[in-house]
């Protein structure tokens, strides 16, 4: 018999289950499979009721975030070969309600993401005839890594602060706020500050740093948040000390 590997998948059917439980599936072992391939095998050949999100299979869409052997990972980014000889335990992302099986309810994240206005806000829209909003490569370099976020929510699943305080705006949303605040074309910093510099924004972060460790795109939200803290503190001092600085 060819080699196999066992998946232990957390199942939850809201219509019949009072709480989630693990179910084992034995799937073929392939050197080039990722965990998502193994889940697809279960869905196609063993149990078609298994529910999970996925789309691109190439770490771009951010849909297949899972807890794999306790670690937040993208299902398409975790090779089965790295778990060879063991069991792969697959759970939905931590710190989010479970909708069904491996599907989580992400409404809270989406609301928080939109609350930081993650888009370029200009002082005055100019007509197309006046040309583009110019940005030099050096200006882009300042924030480029923060543009790589794919909203996969692994950072939220890794953040103990988010787990214990559901009001916390969270790593990805704050990193994206920082990304737009640092954008040379943007004038929306003050508008974002209401959420970003609030008690449930950057100041709720105690720099655990787990968000940056699990980020599959090396966005480093922890760095973004600490830099925002420094910028917000400097703004506060400026407003306090400089004449006419108070709003």
């Amino acid at each position: 018999m060819s080699e196999t590997i066992t998946l232990e998948v957390l199942r939850y059917n809201p219509e019949t289950d009072s709480e989630p439980h693990f179910q084992s599936f034995v799937v073929p072992y392939h050197e080039d499979w990722v965990v998502l391939d193994a889940l697809n095998h279960v869905k196609d050949h063993i149990d078609s009721t298994l529910s999970y999100r996925w789309s691109c299979h190439m770490a771009v869409c951010g849909s297949c975030g899972l807890i794999i052997n306790g670690e937040p990972k993208l299902g398409c980014h975790a090779f089965v070969r790295d778990y060879r000889g063991g069991v792969i335990k697959i759970e939905p992302l931590d710190h989010f309600p479970i909708e069904r099986d491996l599907v989580i309810v992400m409404d809270d994240f989406i609301e928080k993401l939109s609350s930081v206005k993650p888009y370029v806000i200009v002082k005055e829209e100019k007509p197309v005839s006046e040309g583009e909003y110019i940005q030099t490569p050096a200006q882009l370099k300042v924030f480029k890594q923060y543009t790589q976020c794919i909203n996969c929510m692994l950072c939220y699943a890794a953040c103990p602060q988010y787990a214990m305080n559901e009001g916390f705006v969270g790593p990805a949303a704050l990193a994206l706020a920082h990304r737009y605040n640092m954008d040379s074309r943007d004038c929306g910093k003050d508008e974002r500050a209401e959420v970003v510099a609030s008690n449930e924004g950057i100041w709720e972060c105690t720099f655990v740093g787990a968000c940056s460790e699990v980020c599959p795109k090396h966005v480093d939200p922890a760095a973004a948040i600490q830099q925002t803290k420094i910028a917000a503190s400097l703004d506060w001092f400026k407003a306090l000390l400089l004449p006419g600085g108070k709003k």
């Binding site: 289950d17 989630p20 306790g70 479970i98 655990v208 740093g209 940056s212 600490q226 830099q227 420094i230």
Partner: protein
């Protein structure tokens, strides 16, 4: 079909579940010892202001075996505190010089150099 999302509770011992959480909690715990040492130093200053006899009493307590153990424990935790914070300074204070990011190692090294310099100034001022 009705929705009935299931909410999992966070375990009370969540910080033991992963090494990175345990390290984080240890780092947080170190601040308690930094605080204790600050209180100890403040007490010393207060005793100094109360005259020679009070100061001598403080020095005797500080040099007793228990006093030395206390200070060594505080030193250990303070060192862990400083080392872990220096390690993350490049995240909080990334520097760009002439459009190029300064390497993390350089930023950390500058912190250690400043630490050594400040310590040397303090030791010289103390007449050691």
């Amino acid at each position: 079909m009705s929705r009935r999302p299931y909410i999992r509770k966070v375990e009370r011992n969540w910080f033991l579940s992963q090494r990175r959480y345990t390290l984080y909690m240890t780092r947080e715990l170190t601040s308690l010892f930094v605080l204790l040492y600050c209180v100890f130093l403040t007490l010393g200053v207060v005793r100094l202001s109360q005259g020679q006899a009070a100061w001598d009493g403080f020095v005797t307590t500080a040099s007793s075996p228990l006093g030395v153990i206390f200070q060594l424990v505080c030193l250990g935790f303070a060192a862990f505190h400083s080392v872990t914070w220096f390690a993350v300074t490049p995240k909080a204070m990334p520097l760009m010089i002439k459009g190029e990011p300064v390497p993390d190692k350089t930023i950390i090294a500058v912190h250690y150099a400043l630490w050594a310099a400040v310590s040397a100034v303090v030791l010289i001022a103390a007449g050691v």
